[in-house]
Subunit: 393 residues, 2 copies
């Protein structure tokens, strides 16, 4: 049989990270590759109590079909938690999604026609790039520095094209760089988006994992005309296995997300939504997040300390104030995919950074995760990685 697939499918590639995760599942591997939370912090005991409570108090409902928009008590709790990013909203502006990855897919589905241009940070989140690619878009990458996207470059590039359709950004502890946008850049982005009348998809999976310093207001919190779609998730603050994220957007836009969710999977898991809702009622998620932050802060410190002592000075790493990743730039003649092959022989893994650039290039970069490995493995892994990098100099 000669299978004829759609055009769009030919444009999607297997996520290098997902494929890597398979390779790195071997227990002897010290993996800095995934964006995995530390599983030893998952509230397993609490979840046992919560599961039983949900099944005892609303078992039939938890196993039945439920509304596309989400479980209303959870939507209310999410709306209330949006205050943490300075957003006053109500459950009517919240759609529960199957992880925030689903919010990314829906954003592509709702906004992008073939040939449309997505504006994104250079580099940007690989999972978003792949989700959007399925809608046959092009990417216009805007350079970034330690304060976020360079707004002058954004404006200049936007003035030269007429098919930009959507801006996608991760302003807090960005994936892959770990960088956070300054307030000025956030305001600047909103101004430019207004001038060119573009929607902004603000992806914020890591914002609540700040180790030090003051939180900056989300772009959504400064949104005056409903152009910002905020994507949130419990994957990093609670656990990813339940696949619960959300979209917060103005009514007319959210309606489209809801419509698209009907066709995509009808609704998110009825039971997991109720479990999370009961957890939020019975336990203190913020206290739990403090615990996560305490552990990740130590790991970040350790990793940055050992990168400093073990990596050659030619390898320049970002210093993240939160989130899960640091980002290393190597001399241009080093190819991090080749480095990765060599590192795997030493049983150490990371993600070569080239995958985070939708238009290619920048193969001399690495994304390194510090949330998933215990202290001793961070030290040992960075030592081995340092040696491998020195071989390539």
């Amino acid at each position: 049989m000669a299978i004829k697939f759609s055009e769009r499918v030919s444009k999607v590639n297997a996520s290098e990270i997902r494929e890597l995760l398979k390779l790195t599942a071997r227990p002897e591997i010290i993996s800095f590759a995934g964006g995995l939370p530390a599983p030893e912090l998952f509230p397993v005991e609490e979840m046992k109590k919560v599961s039983v409570k949900v099944l005892e108090e609303m078992g039939q409902e938890a196993l039945q079909y439920s509304p596309t928009e989400g479980y209303n008590p959870l939507r209310k709790q999410i709306a209330s938690r949006m205050k943490k990013v300075n957003v006053e909203t109500s459950m009517d502006n919240i759609l529960v999604t199957s992880g925030s990855q689903q919010g990314l897919d829906f954003s592509g589905k709702i906004f992008l026609n073939p040939g449309d241009v997505v504006i994104c940070e250079s580099p940007s989140y690989l999972g978003a790039i792949n989700a959007f690619k399925a809608y046959e878009c092009e990417f216009l990458e805007i350079s970034t520095d330690n304060d976020g996207m360079i707004i002058e470059e954004l404006e200049e590039k936007l003035s030269k094209i007429d098919n930009a359709k959507m801006i996608y950004v991760i302003p807090d502890f960005q994936n892959p760089t770990g960088r956070t946008w300054s307030l000025q850049r956030r305001k600047g982005l909103l101004e430019v988006a207004k001038k060119y009348d573009l929607p902004i998809v603000e992806d914020n999976p890591y914002g609540e994992l700040r180790f030090e310093g003051e939180m900056l207001p989300s772009i959504k919190s400064m949104d005056e005309d409903g152009r910002v779609i905020f994507l949130g998730t419990f994957s990093k603050t609670f656990c990813p296995g339940l696949r619960i994220g959300w979209v917060c957007a103005e009514h007319d836009i959210l309606e489209k997300y809801i419509l698209v969710k009907q066709g995509a999977d009808l609704q998110s898991n009825s039971m997991s939504q109720r479990e999370l809702s009961v957890f939020l009622d019975v336990y203190d998620l913020d206290e739990h997040i403090e615990k996560i932050k305490d552990i990740y802060r130590v790991r970040r410190n350790l990793m940055m300390q050992y990168i400093k002592s073990e990596f050659p000075k030619e390898a320049v790493a970002t210093y993240p104030n939160g989130g899960l990743f640091t980002w290393v730039e190597l001399p241009e003649y080093i190819n991090a995919r080749e480095l990765m092959e060599r590192a795997l022989k030493e049983n150490v893994a990371f993600v070569p950074g080239g995958s985070f650039f939708p238009n290619g290039g920048n193969e001399n970069t690495m994304r390194i995760n510090y949330s998933n490995m215990p202290d001793d493995k961070i030290i040992e892994g960075i030592k081995r990685l340092g040696k491998v990098i020195k071989e390539f100099l």
Copy 2:
């Protein structure tokens, strides 16, 4: 802000069923509208034990990210259950999806370019129609009778077009008609699909709910060249709230589904997959299905008996040997949407059949569900509905 959505979003409509379900959530409503399983049959007590077991034995893993393809023990169990539809397969041909609705969405995403034609039964499942519409396809409806799709009409219509891309069918206890295809029609479809080299998406949510008679082999079981993609689900045989379905397809095709799932939601719920897998290990799902069938059979009997005695002879109902629905054709001058408005005043609900015809028309039809209401409400509801129909004669 002037929001510019994608072309495709303008082609998707809110599912009438989902909107109806909201209306019919009032407790005084006797609802024959949804395709909801009977919640009193959900294994709530068993799920309590299973949830605790999963969290005790593999808690961290159940709350962590897991592979896109699905939880391997569950994939094996699904592969083994495929024997029920005469298919010998292995876990490598199984992708776990978030309900079989996700399998429908992915089928559209993988096969359909704008303008491509989907061949479907007339009528067909509304949720599939909406999922495919998002990929800007057209629909070519093929007439059906009590034995399924009319193969001669299929062949004649296919000979006149060159942009058919995919055939979508529900051969067992079809949604919305409750009809089951004969063996001859199944073979006929495969022959025609081979002649025109088209993939077939075989959607089978109800096949295991047969009340009497012999199961017929699935189309997938007679598939010699890997053109059939089989969609299954635990929503009707176990519970829908966990959102677990699957795709069974040949390697090259399944690879595309996996790729698309990476971008769509990374993976299905880690915990629910493990819960279902443990349930399948510890309990006897087939025994559970027998219980469901015993109850639904009684409800089907009761509904058909009262339709016969309470509906006027001008209303012609199908007699389903399984599944959840019967389908009623009224005289052409009766509009079932108007009938529905009137019925709602009597606190009875069903789904007007027009929505199941992607190209419109056939407004004189009704889909009536018998799985979700207890016996006394079936009797009372059908009596009220009979009176309302008689008013419209």
